[in-house]
């Protein structure tokens, strides 16, 4: 595709349910990033993938959050037992590789609302 795509665009879920958010990076981009944008915390880094290397999970807020990247392309961010404070916009970005991390292209985000 032409840019980073994310699905769903919006997700409403009940507290305690699990959710999966998907990110399709730009074709050929080996580096992928997840960020969270919330009213209380602003924009914060969650996790970084580079090719087949171990991901940098230093930004994940709790063990309810996990992410994987299959085949070095599509990534899924999973939130288990969602809480109301998980309500936020989840943004995904990609860059050609780690060396071009200064040029991250963002997707439109998934707005998650936990009721």
């Amino acid at each position: 595709g032409a840019g980073v795509s994310q699905s769903p665009s919006n997700k409403v879920t009940e507290k305690g349910k699990d959710v999966e958010l998907r990110c399709d990076p730009i074709s050929g981009h080996t580096a992928l990033y997840w960020y969270r944008q919330s009213l209380g915390q602003g924009l914060e880094f969650l996790i970084y993938f580079q090719g087949n290397s171990a991901p940098d999970k230093s930004g994940l807020p709790s063990d309810r959050f996990s992410a994987e990247r299959t085949g070095g392309s599509v990534s899924t961010l999973t939130i288990q037992r969602t809480q109301q404070e998980d309500s936020a916009v989840y943004l995904c970005a990609s860059s050609r590789d780690r060396g071009t991390a200064y040029e991250q292209y963002f997707g439109p985000g998934t707005r998650l609302t936990v009721t």
Binding site: Y33, F45, L91, A101, Y102, E103, Q104, G109
Partner: protein, 117 residues
């Protein structure tokens, strides 16, 4: 740890006028990047301009320019000839530059800019 501060939550400017958005940051690093991103209501973050810390010359992209003061750790964005399409939230961001760089962007709180006709 690095921090980025934008002290102006909201600003407005008349169309065709010039506006400056402020950003300060704190870091002990010497080698890094600074960015300004634009986020319109569509939510998609768009890179406006990037500055490499080792470059003394201020970056410029058409109507957008920065005033980078490394010693003062200040990085302001000037928008000239403001257009209605510039209405958006603007984020200042920092990224450390290193061989082990994970590309982690650290963002400020954002400034909402409204351009008035």
């Amino acid at each position: 740890a690095q921090t980025v501060t934008q002290s102006q939550p909201e600003m407005s400017v008349q169309e065709a006028e010039t506006v400056t958005l402020s950003c300060t940051y704190d870091t002990s690093e010497n080698n890094y990047y600074l960015f300004w991103y634009k986020q319109p209501p569509s939510r998609q973050m768009i890179l406006v301009i990037r500055q490499e810390a080792y470059k003394q010359q201020n970056a410029t992209e058409n109507r957008f320019s920065v005033n980078f003061q490394k010693a003062a750790k200040s990085f302001s964005l000037k928008i000239s000839d403001s257009q209605l399409g510039d209405t958006a939230m603007y984020f200042c961001a920092f990224m450390k530059r290193s061989s082990s760089n994970t590309g982690k962007l650290i963002f400020g709180q954002g400034t909402t800019l409204q351009v008035k006709p």
